[in-house]
Symmetry: C2
Subunit: 237 residues, 2 copies
């Protein structure tokens, strides 16, 4: 049997895909706008990002329940079953990406009173641009079931991590130079960490695409460069 | 019909519960031991925590796939369907808790060369003790389907957040006093944030217990005290 009989089951699957695509669009927009708000010190935009997260949460719960109901009612097998498992996984990652972008947006207020070190904020934006591009690519790969493109995204996560590590050291050095930098640099440190984790969730989605295509969970160590967990910087060094 | 006919379906459900219980035990142990490693500067214990995370990841994938297969094969309805959705959700939260504990353990090395401010490390441990207790309570509530106990856990998440906020300010003040404190205080800041997020995932599990019992997703704002996203501290203040 080349495929299942075309029924409302296909419509259900198509609707799931559409909801994931909506979630992806929102998560991508939130990621970009949170950093934009940071660069421009734009409190109104930050509030918009915070507000957008509610829709993501609702969509995620909705996708989860619809996926499970679909499985219960239609008893899909093999690739169709993986479709629904993948929908649950991807929506979970997109929901987490929204949380992380929202947290960046919340910190816009905390650094608003400080003349920010524009160079460092731009470092965060550079990371965020990379993360947003990766997220866009992985969502395209998911929509077109392109495992090659997913693998490319997976390979590139190390770039975001490397940027984060250098930003981590830079921020610590900056704090050491002047205690008045400590407060807002701490918030920028968390912003950078959030963007790094957006990259991790994007990598998760790439792995889900592999699972969707092959039925195998991805094995192999990620190209992680998470040296910042071990990094220390000395004053005057 | 008071319940479904007793079949291997019950065995499957029971096995799912057992796997979740195993995950819960590992996550709880990792949370406690990561902070212990931090307090004692114990690199060997930290490595053990890092190693334990692999088992959690495997169990989570396993629970996710078994839940979905169970749904596909048995077509459970109503509360039985919620059982499996809940298993997917809870295992996701426990896997994240493991990641967060692992990240705390990784940072043990970064602060190992510094004579740590014992008072602040103890502040992190105090938070972690609270988080571990909450996690234990919510796992008990999940095992016994006790919505009242779950609600209690949910109500208490604000305590962990409040501790985190005061620790956040304390750490920033400490950094401002002496630039030699900046590096390891930054790592402790991330440790504290990780523990705060372990509390959030525990709260998620409490909400899943509510969903499992009632079929309704929890509505109502969490008793969040996440003021640290907005907090700033001035030198000499």
């Amino acid at each position: 049997m080349p495929g299942h009989i075309v029924t409302s089951y296909d419509t259900d699957l198509e609707n799931l895909r559409r909801s994931i695509s909506e979630m992806g669009g929102i998560a991508e927009k939130m990621t970009g706008e949170a950093t934009q708000a940071l660069v421009r010190q734009d409190g109104v935009l930050a509030q918009a990002v915070i507000a957008a997260d509610k829709r993501l949460d609702t969509l995620q719960r909705d996708i989860e329940e619809r996926s499970v109901l679909l499985i219960a009612r239609r008893q899909p097998m093999a690739v169709d079953l993986r479709e629904t498992i993948s929908a649950i996984r991807v929506s979970g990652d997109l929901e987490r990406i929204g949380d992380l972008a929202k947290n960046v947006a919340k910190r816009v207020m905390a650094i608003a009173d400080h003349a920010p070190a524009q160079k460092i904020v731009l470092g965060v934006r550079h990371m965020s641009d990379l993360a947003e591009g990766q997220l866009k690519d992985v969502l395209d790969a998911y929509a077109s079931r392109d495992t090659k493109a997913a693998q490319d995204v997976w390979n590139r996560d190390g770039e975001i991590d490397a940027l984060y590590n250098s930003l981590f050291r830079e921020l610590l050095t900056y704090m050491m130079e002047d205690p008045r930098n400590i407060s807002f640099c701490t918030h920028l440190l968390f912003c950078a960490k959030n963007v790094e984790r957006i990259g991790d969730h994007t990598t998760n989605i790439a792995e889900t695409i592999h699972y969707l295509a092959t039925g195998e969970n991805f094995v192999g160590d990620r190209p992680k460069n998470d040296a910042s967990n071990y990094a220390t910087v000395e004053p005057g060094a």
